[in-house]
């Protein structure tokens, strides 16, 4: 599926998902667990802030020199017999990959998890070309066989599904006859997918980090599925977002450490695999042919702007795991495969403001995301920047709000207007006041009083009290 999920508008999606009790319980539970694990992993290291600072340094330097490192990467991949295709658009990437698939007369493709391939909608293109495409990451596999249910989290895509739902999908689609116990479900997936790995023509992967100095790609999993996807089929195609690159093995290991601790609180995941080109002479397993597709798809438009820091992202989802808004609305509410704070910043940049203008406002700017990010992306500041762009450059703010803010500007810039306003406020709101509170407010207060009481403006303003207080000589 492409980046955009569905066609309902933001508020409709939120309304629906707020009523999904299971999803909210699952998300809250996952957040508790992952938040705790991340904090423990950070504490165990001891100097987490230094690690974050190093992560930021590495990512910023790499972005500043992105053209150089991509040049080095491509040269080194080619030296090892691999093919490199630079794709400016999603269409170019899909066309190249489809051509390889057709040339190889491939019928069955196995894939390991890759957000960028979802972004460009690769699976649909390959299926239209007559291929069977099988997701091997357990979460993605579950979603795929459940009629392509979209992912709701960058790292744990099937977070919103409970085991009973998964059991029912397996029963319906895979002839599964056992219970909803996770061990049994996983064992069934293992058996089913093992056959697919062994008979697939092509393996397609994403790329956690490409290493420029050697022309290598790094794959980080717990399941080992990426290893089987790349060891068994005869052809391997790796798709990477162009910013997912490091200068050398030494930076790769730092960022991998930050990724695994921030994402799931592990020192390292079970399988971290660095692959370079097709198999060597004399190897029995590994691909005979290797293709690296480097995707822009709007990322270069972010370079050189105030939003450039968002490209530092290593897709760990630490921000998603601490976001109090995501906690209640879940990933599908964002209408994008990129959800949570990173999704709220990235989706408007890659997908435009028309589809995503509410996302930057779906935040209380609590800055938990900024605090959690292992590479120090100032996420809440970027959300604020989006608001500024929406108001000033896009002109998409509602007129009533613009007028209200102009009035604010006047009132707050002039003590005369301000004092006047504060003096008349009690009497202006008197019709709505009961005792000391307002329960059904007019105008802007209406939305507030829908769920909360609002205090009535004090008849004795502070400044009036202070003036008397001063006259009384301080007591």
């Amino acid at each position: 599926m492409p980046m955009k999920i569905g066609n309902a508008n933001f508020h409709e999606r939120v309304e629906t998902n707020l009523h999904n009790t299971f999803m909210r319980g699952a998300v809250a539970g996952a957040q508790e667990r992952l938040h705790t694990r991340r904090l423990e992993a950070a504490k165990e290291l001891g100097n987490w802030e230094e690690w974050r600072a190093l992560g930021e340094e590495i990512r910023q330097h790499t972005l500043e020199n992105l053209d150089y490192y991509l040049m080095q990467l491509s040269e080194n991949v080619a030296k090892r017999g691999g093919h490199v295709f630079f794709a400016q658009t999603a269409e170019e990437a899909n066309n190249y990959i489809r051509d390889v698939v057709i040339r190889k007369k491939a019928k069955k493709i196995v894939k390991s998890k890759s957000m960028v391939t979802e972004e460009i909608n690769l699976n649909a293109v390959l299926e239209a070309a007559g291929c069977e495409v099988i997701e091997t990451d357990l979460g993605e596999y579950i979603l795929q066989i459940d009629d392509h249910d979209p992912p709701s989290h960058i790292v744990a895509p099937a977070l919103h599904k409970n085991k009973e739902q998964i059991r029912d999908v397996f029963r319906e689609k895979l002839g599964y006859k056992q219970t909803e116990k996770p061990e049994e479900l996983a064992l069934h997936a293992r058996k089913t997918l093992r056959r697919e790995y062994l008979t697939a023509d092509i393996g397609i992967t994403g790329c956690n980090f490409a290493i420029a100095e050697s022309g290598s790609i790094t794959l980080v999993t717990n399941e080992g599925n990426a290893d089987l996807v790349t060891a068994l089929p005869k052809t391997q195609i790796t798709v990477m977002g162009m910013e997912r690159i490091v200068p050398t093995f030494e930076e790769m290991e730092v960022l991998v450490s930050l990724l695994t601790r921030s994402a799931v609180g592990q020192k390292l995941t079970s399988y971290i695999t660095v692959l370079t080109g097709p198999r060597d002479e004399g190897d029995v397993d590994g691909p005979e042919e290797f293709h690296l597709v480097i995707v822009d798809n709007g990322r270069s438009n972010i370079l050189g702007t105030e939003f450039q820091p968002v490209l530092q992202c290593i897709r760990c989802a630490a921000c998603v795991n601490v976001c109090p808004v995501y906690r209640h609305i879940g990933g599908h509410s964002y209408g994008s495969i990129y959800s949570g704070p990173i999704g709220a910043v990235l989706s408007p940049l890659l997908g435009g403001y028309d589809d995503y203008k509410e996302l930057p406002y779906a935040s209380s700017l609590c800055a938990a995301c900024t605090e959690a990010c292992p590479v120090k992306i100032p996420l809440h500041e970027l959300l604020l920047k989006h608001r500024q762009v929406i108001v000033e450059r896009e002109g998409k703010a509602p007129i009533s709000e613009k007028l209200a803010m102009k009035a604010f500007g006047l009132g707050a810039a002039s003590s005369f207007f301000y004092k006047f306003g504060s003096k008349v406020a009690p009497s202006a709101l008197a019709p709505f006041t009961n005792d000391d509170r307002i329960s059904k407010g007019p105008g802007p207060l209406k939305a507030w009083t829908e769920i909360r009481e609002f205090p009535a403006p004090n008849k004795e303003r502070f400044r009036d009290w202070f003036r008397e207080h001063q006259k009384g000589g301080g007591k």
């Binding site: 093919h83 895509p157 089987l228 060891a231 080109g277 002479e281």
Partner: protein, 240 residues
């Protein structure tokens, strides 16, 4: 090795340079001296004994059994561990260390005599190797570098050291020489980087394996043993 092809690079990189507001960078960009380097402080100054203790402490946390033995006892230890995991079939790397560590007799004579099938990776037998590995109960390799902090074995796969020996069988066993243990991935990465700087080619596949495979994709319940092995044991040879 035939050189691969590169498509559409020029315009792509020019776009990036334009967006960054400068000319395209093609001259060597020196890697900065990073202002922060906390990765070198982990287990700094640890002796091999201390590193081994750290490795042993980490193993239960990654659902991995850790067994200590000596060169003299290795053969018996290996027999016992494999038996405890349910016996053969066994698939192994074709690696000179099996002879160095005195295990050839076990692989070629003892086990087959006890009806434990053994397949040593044979580069000339092509796909048959993979078929055997898929049906094997146990896969055995050596660890090229071992990371104490995370309990990780580093494998430089290639040729006789098939990638799938450590993935397809139900159980994975790594033979770890105590001298291969380093603090963490930092040291392994530094070593590999040094090799590259010297002009050596990295193997086409380097695995950093930490215990058996697992997933938490179903209601965030950890399930051990998904696509890769379901169990893992490290056998540490303390006098190597």
């Amino acid at each position: 090795m035939q050189t691969g092809t590169i498509h559409n690079r020029d315009k792509f990189l020019q776009t990036i340079a334009d967006r960054l507001g400068r000319k395209q960078r093609t001259e060597r960009v020196p890697r900065p001296h990073w202002r922060h380097q906390p990765q070198w402080t982990v287990f700094q100054g640890y002796s091999q004994d201390e590193l081994l203790e750290a490795l042993k402490a980490q193993c239960p946390r990654i659902h991995t059994q850790c067994v200590e033995t000596t060169s003299a006892e290795l053969k018996e230890t290996l027999k016992e561990v494999v038996a405890n995991h349910g016996g053969g079939p066994v698939v192994t790397w074709d690696d000179p260390r099996f002879a160095e560590y005195g295990l050839t007799h076990l692989l070629r004579d003892e086990w087959p005599k006890e009806n434990t099938d053994v397949h040593i990776w044979d580069a000339s037998a092509g796909r048959k190797n993979i078929d055997f590995a898929d049906k094997a109960n146990v896969g055995i390799t050596f660890s090229d570098i071992t990371l104490a902090e995370s309990g990780t074995v580093v494998l430089f796969s290639g040729n006789g050291k098939g990638r799938t020996v450590s993935f397809l069988p139900k159980t994975y066993i790594a033979i770890v020489a105590k001298s291969t243990i380093v603090p963490r991935m930092t040291q392994a990465a530094a070593y590999i980087h040094e090799q590259i700087e010297k002009g050596h080619l990295v193997p086409s596949c380097i695995n950093f394996i930490t215990g058996p495979s697992n997933s938490a994709d179903i209601e965030m319940n950890l399930v051990v043993g998904v696509h890769g092995p379901m169990k893992a044991t490290y056998i540490v040879v303390v006098d190597r």
